[in-house]
């Protein structure tokens, strides 16, 4: 597997860890953050961070994967 793809996949694991597998740990009302119950705040924060994570994955793919892969764009 090419290095860029490997790094991108590692980054893509973050939303799955935080938004699925961490749920039993964050299933709580307090602390209240920005007026939101903790569980909702946690989910919302990681959903909002997902585009940034994917953008980073995109840059890393561009940087490390050989350009001929993207030739058919």
């Amino acid at each position: 597997m090419r290095k860029g793809t490997r790094l991108a996949l590692l980054l893509a694991a973050i939303p799955f860890l935080t938004l699925v597998f961490a749920l039993p740990l964050v299933n709580r009302l307090r602390p209240i953050i920005l007026g939101l119950p903790f569980l909702l705040f946690w989910i919302l924060a990681w959903v909002a961070l997902t585009p940034l994570i994917l953008y980073l994955a995109y840059r890393l793919e561009k940087k490390y994967n050989p350009p001929e892969d993207e030739a058919d764009r």
Partner: protein
């Protein structure tokens, strides 16, 4: 005519005309009709996909779940983010295969990748069976929204009939391009309506979002953590449902097909990055449901909480505006659902299954007839059985999710074989149906669709490995490699 009616009728008519004109200067062949000639840029594909995803179910269902179930509703926020993350890897690869081999639909992909027409017909039939209840739900939701928003002036059947005629008009003339342009109107109106109401009602009744949540946690402790007010939807159910719906998301025939309409693999990749932003409005819909629980508790039908609260709070012209937004919100997904349902029947059931010699023009003509057939079936169901298909919709998600191993392994794993995918798919669908029919959903806290998908994936992978060992290269079942 009162302002609410004017806004509702004006919006529906304007959208339909926009949709009809969108395809005016494009010669209609199958390629333009189903995948827009593969020419959509990042913005249009984003609006189209958002238009398909944020349906009346999001509008009514997300607020209804927040109202009646509480925290389990949060899965709606999560699964989209998971689906977009996966789509970053899956859709560009899929798009390349589609472009290279001129694929239009999901069964096209299965036929091409596994060299099996039978598999294509089977996938098409599961797809259509999943699409019809989804479409019916859109029509029923539309009738209900317009009826309430017009304060009873327009009856639900009249609203359904009117939007049925207009939606068919722009689907028949413009295909997917029409849906994409109507989605522009829909997205703007829906965002406005949800933003005004979602931020408005907590402030109007409680003086702020934080204050609303404080009141809610005092009055209904436990509503804002799993399992909320739904004892069988504890954290294991939420986790398995997030995974199932996240994986199944792009396996819907209309979501799958929309990916082909992008102009490049790069476009579809960039689209995946910005898609999660469209999840944020769902939070606002939750806020309306939570506020409604405090202000108007005890509604018999929780799905009515959004409109009931809007009706109670705002002047009639604004209620009309929300109704208009709701109506277009039903029309866009309806259009794309019926478009792909019809293409599946004409291209992948009729042409693939019964008449491989049928020409493209004949398939397109039959697709257009099938648009009317599917719409009429859904219309009849919406008018005569408005409440009985919700269970079928649940099956819809569980059903289309079973395509995941065949699609994804097909793209990235050369060794996966046709019999393995076929057996896995059938076993997955049978497992899901058996669990639902015998009332074992959820099973040990796990979503039934997730159990089916696990059975399916294990069978697909292990049978592929076994087949390879016994065949050791060559043989009649050798898959056609696409990459």
């Amino acid at each position: 005519m009162n302002p609410a009616l004017l806004i509702i009728f004006g919006t529906i008519l304007f959208s339909a005309l926009l949709g009809v004109f969108a395809g005016r200067r494009v010669p209609m062949n199958l390629e333009n009709w189903t995948v827009g000639g593969r020419k959509f840029g990042v913005l249009l594909i984003w609006l189209l996909m958002a238009g398909e995803i944020y349906t009346t179910f999001t509008f009514l269902g997300a607020s209804g779940w927040a109202y009646s179930k509480g925290a389990p509703a949060f899965y709606i926020l999560v699964y989209g983010a998971l689906a977009y993350t996966l789509s970053f890897f899956i859709l560009p690869a899929l798009w390349r295969v589609g472009k290279k081999h001129g694929l239009h639909t999901q069964p096209d992909y299965f036929i091409h990748r596994y060299g099996s027409r039978a598999l294509g017909v089977f996938v098409a039939l599961i797809g259509v069976a999943s699409i019809i209840p989804y479409l019916e739900l859109q029509l029923a939701g539309l009738g209900y929204i317009v009826n309430v928003a017009s304060r009873g002036a327009i009856s639900a059947p009249l609203a359904i009939l009117l939007s049925f005629v207009l939606t068919c008009a722009f689907v028949l003339t413009s295909g997917i391009r029409g849906a994409a342009w109507v989605a522009v109107v829909k997205d703007i109106m829906m965002l406005l309506a949800v933003a005004v109401v979602g931020i408005g009602v907590p402030v109007i009744y409680f003086g702020g979002i934080g204050k609303m949540f404080r009141a809610l946690s005092l009055k209904f402790p436990g509503h804002l953590v799993f399992p909320g007010a739904a004892a069988h939807m504890d954290v294991v159910w939420v986790m398995s449902t997030c995974l199932l719906t996240g994986l199944g998301f792009y396996m819907w025939p209309h979501m799958f097909g929309a990916a082909f309409s992008a102009k490049s693999a790069e476009t579809i990749k960039r689209n995946a990055i910005i898609m999660p932003f469209y999840q944020i409005p769902t939070l606002l819909v939750f806020l309306v449901g939570f506020t409604a629980l405090l202000v108007i508790p005890g509604l018999a039908k929780p799905d009515t909480s959004f409109l009931a609260l809007v009706d109670k709070t705002y002047p009639s012209w604004f209620v009309g505006f929300v109704g208009a937004a709701g109506a277009v919100t039903a029309m866009v997904p309806s259009a794309v659902l019926v478009l792909f349902g019809a293409t599946l029947l004409a291209k992948n059931v009729y042409q693939t299954g019964f008449n491989p010699k049928a020409g493209e023009a004949q398939v397109l003509r039959l697709s257009r007839i099938m648009v009317l057939v599917i719409m009429v079936v859904a219309l009849m169901l919406a008018l005569f059985f408005p409440n009985e298909l919700v269970n079928l919709l649940i099956f819809g998600y569980d059903g289309v999710s079973q395509f995941f191993p065949g699609v994804v392994l097909g793209l990235f794993w050369k060794r996966v074989t046709k019999p393995a995918v076929g057996v896995g798919l059938v076993a997955g669908v049978v497992t899901v149906v058996a669990l639902i029919v015998t009332h074992h959903d959820p099973l040990f806290g796990l979503n039934a669709g997730f159990v089916g998908l696990a059975v399916n994936a294990v069978l697909t992978i292990s049978l592929s490995l076994l087949a390879r060992r016994s065949l050791s290269g060559g043989g009649p079942d050798q898959p056609i490699h696409v990459k």
